[in-house]
Amino acid sequence: MLDTDFFRRWMAATTAAVDREADRLTDLDAAIGDADHGSNMRRGFTAVSDVLDKEAPATPGAVLTLAGRHLISTVGGASGPLYGTLLRRTGKALGDAPEVTPDQLAEALGAGVAAVAQLGGAQAGDKTMLDALLPAVEVLASSFEEARDAALAGALATVPLRARKGRASYMGERSIGHQDPGAASAALLVGALAEAAEPSGGGDA
C-alpha cells in the first residue's frame, strides 16, 4: 500500500531530480523551443515542495491535487497547465482514501494522462510529454522500475519524431533529431516513483 508519506516522497524526489537536471532540460528546450523548460520545472516543483511542507495534506489524493494546483499557479508556459492538470486529475481520481494500491495509482495516473491529452490535444507520437507518460502508465501496475524504464525509453524515442504540438512544431523538419524536453521531464517524474518506493526514501525526504 502507498500511504500519504509515499506521495510526499514522490514529490520530493521529483523536486530533487528536476533541480539536478534543470540545465539539461533547458538545453533540450533551447534546441527546439525557448530555453525555459528547466527553470519552469524547477520553479514549479520548488513551490510544490514548499507548500507540501507548510500544509501537510492528509491523503494521497490531497497531496497530488495540492501539488497540481501549485504547478498551475507558479509554472506558466505550456508545461504548467499540463503538469498541473496531470497531478490534479490524478489526485482527484484517487479520492480521499488514506492509502492506495499501486493498481489504483496506475489507474488514477491513467486518468491524469488522459486529461493532459484532452487539454493539449496531443496524441502519442506528437513529440510531447505524452510520449513518456503513455508507455509508463501502461506498465505502472507491474512495477515502478518498469514504468521508469518505459518513460525513459519513450522520452528517448521522441528524438527521431517531428513535433506536431507545442513550440517545437514551429520548426517543422528541423525539430527532428532532438529529444523533447517535456518527455525528458516526464521521465524524471515517473522515475521518482521508484525512488520514493526505495527504503531509503526519495530525494531529500
Binding site: G76, G77, P81, R164, S169, Y170, M171
Partner: protein
C-alpha cells in the same frame, strides 16, 4: 546581461517600471500592471499578457486608449491563470473583459483556465487569439501560427473602440477582425540570450541570418547567408502579401527585435515601403520601432494590417501608454 540574478529579472523590471510610471499601478508581487483609473465605468476591460522579454509588449501598452491591464510571465514563459483572474477582477466595471492572447500553447492554456475561473467569479470574459506569423504553417502539423506584431494592432484598435464605450461583443469582433486582417514575418540577425540560460539559445554565426523566426529565440525555418536590407524586405513583405493579399490600404509595423539600431530600422522601413509601392499596396500609416521584441535579439519583423476607414480612425485615436502615445 544587465541583471542581478536570473530569478528576479521580472520582479526587478516591474519595480523599475513602477518608479518610472506613477501613472500606472504596478504590482510587482502579483505581476500585474493596471491602468490607475481602472475599472472605468461602463468600459470593457482589455487584458493581455505573455512571457516577459518582449517589452514594451504588453505592460508598455497599458493606459487610456489601449490595454486596461497586462500580466507579465517569467521570461519567455506565459503567465499563470492567477494573474489574469486578478487582472480581470481589477478592470471589470460590469461591462466584461476581453482577453487578448497570443497563440502559443502555454498562453492559450493559461488564459483558458483563467477565463473559466474569472467567469466563476462573475466576470463576463471574451477571448481573442492573435496568430499572424506566416512563417508557421497553420495546419494540423503545428500548434498554429504564432502571435507576434499584430498584437500591437489588436490592442490599439480594440482598445480605442473600448474607450469609445463599445460593448464587449463589438470590441471582441473588432479584435478578431484586426487579427484576421494582419500578417507578420520576422528575421533574426543574431540569437537571443535569456537570463536563465546565459548563453545564446541557438548558434547564429555572424554573416548568416534566420528567416521566419518567432519572438522566443526559437530557431527559424531557414538559414541563409547575410542579405541586404533590401533583400530582406523583399522576402518579408512578399511572404506577408502572399498570405494576406490585401485589397485596400494597410497599416505597417516595422518592428525591431531588440538589438537592432533605430537607424537601421528606419533604413529597413525605406525598403519595406519600396516593396509595397512596387506591389501596388497603399500605406495608411507606418510605425517604426522596437515594440514586440525578443530580449537582445538583432533582427526585424514586418506586420501589415489591411484597414478600412473605421480602423484608421481607431489607429489615430488618442493613446496614452508608456510606449505608444499620441492624440488628445
Amino acid at each position: 546581461m544587465l541583471i542581478n540574478v536570473p530569478e528576479t529579472v521580472v520582479a526587478d523590471g516591474l519595480r523599475g517600471m513602477a518608479a518610472a510610471h506613477p501613472e500606472l499601478v504596478v504590482d510587482a508581487e502579483n505581476r500585474l500592471v493596471v491602468r490607475r483609473d481602472a475599472p472605468v465605468a461602463g468600459k470593457v476591460g482589455l487584458v493581455s499578457g505573455g512571457g516577459s522579454g518582449h517589452e514594451p509588449l504588453h505592460a508598455g501598452f497599458v493606459g487610456p486608449g489601449m490595454l486596461s491591464a497586462a500580466c507579465p510571465g517569467e521570461v519567455f514563459t506565459s503567465p499563470v491563470p492567477d494573474q489574469m483572474v486578478r487582472a480581470a477582477a481589477a478592470v471589470d466595471s460590469g461591462a466584461g473583459v476581453l482577453f487578448i492572447v497570443k497563440n502559443y500553447t502555454g498562453d492559450v492554456l493559461n488564459f483558458d483556465m483563467a477565463a473559466e475561473l474569472a467567469e466563476d467569479e462573475g466576470v463576463q470574459v471574451a477571448k481573442v487569439l492573435v496568430d499572424d506569423d506566416v512563417a508557421v504553417a497553420d495546419s494540423t502539423f503545428t500548434a498554429g501560427r504564432r502571435g507576434t506584431g499584430a498584437t500591437l494592432f489588436v490592442e490599439k484598435l480594440a482598445g480605442a473602440l473600448a474607450d469609445e464605450g463599445a460593448p464587449l461583443e463589438r470590441v471582441e469582433s473588432m479584435a478578431r477582425r484586426v487579427n484576421e486582417s494582419s500578417r507578420s514575418f520576422g528575421v533574426a540577425l543574431s540569437s537571443v540570450t535569456t537570463p536563465a540560460k546565459g548563453t545564446p539559445t541557438f548558434d547564429l554565426p555572424p554573416g548568416e541570418l534566420e528567416l521566419g523566426i518567432g519572438i522566443h529565440g526559437e530557431p527559424g525555418r531557414e538559414r541563409r547567408p547575410m542579405m541586404t536590407s533590401g533583400e530582406i524586405a523583399d522576402v518579408a513583405v512578399h511572404a506577408v502579401l502572399e498570405d494576406l493579399r490585401p485589397t485596400g490600404p494597410v497599416l505597417v509595423l516595422v518592428n525591431g527585435m531588440g538589438a537592432t539600431p533605430l537607424l537601421e530600422l528606419y533604413g529597413f522601413n525605406a525598403e519595406v515601403q519600396r516593396v509595397l509601392a512596387e506591389r501596388g499596396v497603399s500605406v495608411a500609416r507606418t510605425l517604426v520601432g522596437s515594440y514586440v521584441t525578443s530580449l537582445d535579439m538583432a533582427g526585424c519583423s514586418v506586420t501589415l494590417c489591411q484597414v478600412d476607414e473605421e480602423m484608421v480612425r481607431l489607429w489615430d485615436a488618442p493613446v496614452q501608454t508608456p510606449a505608444l502615445r499620441w492624440g488628445r
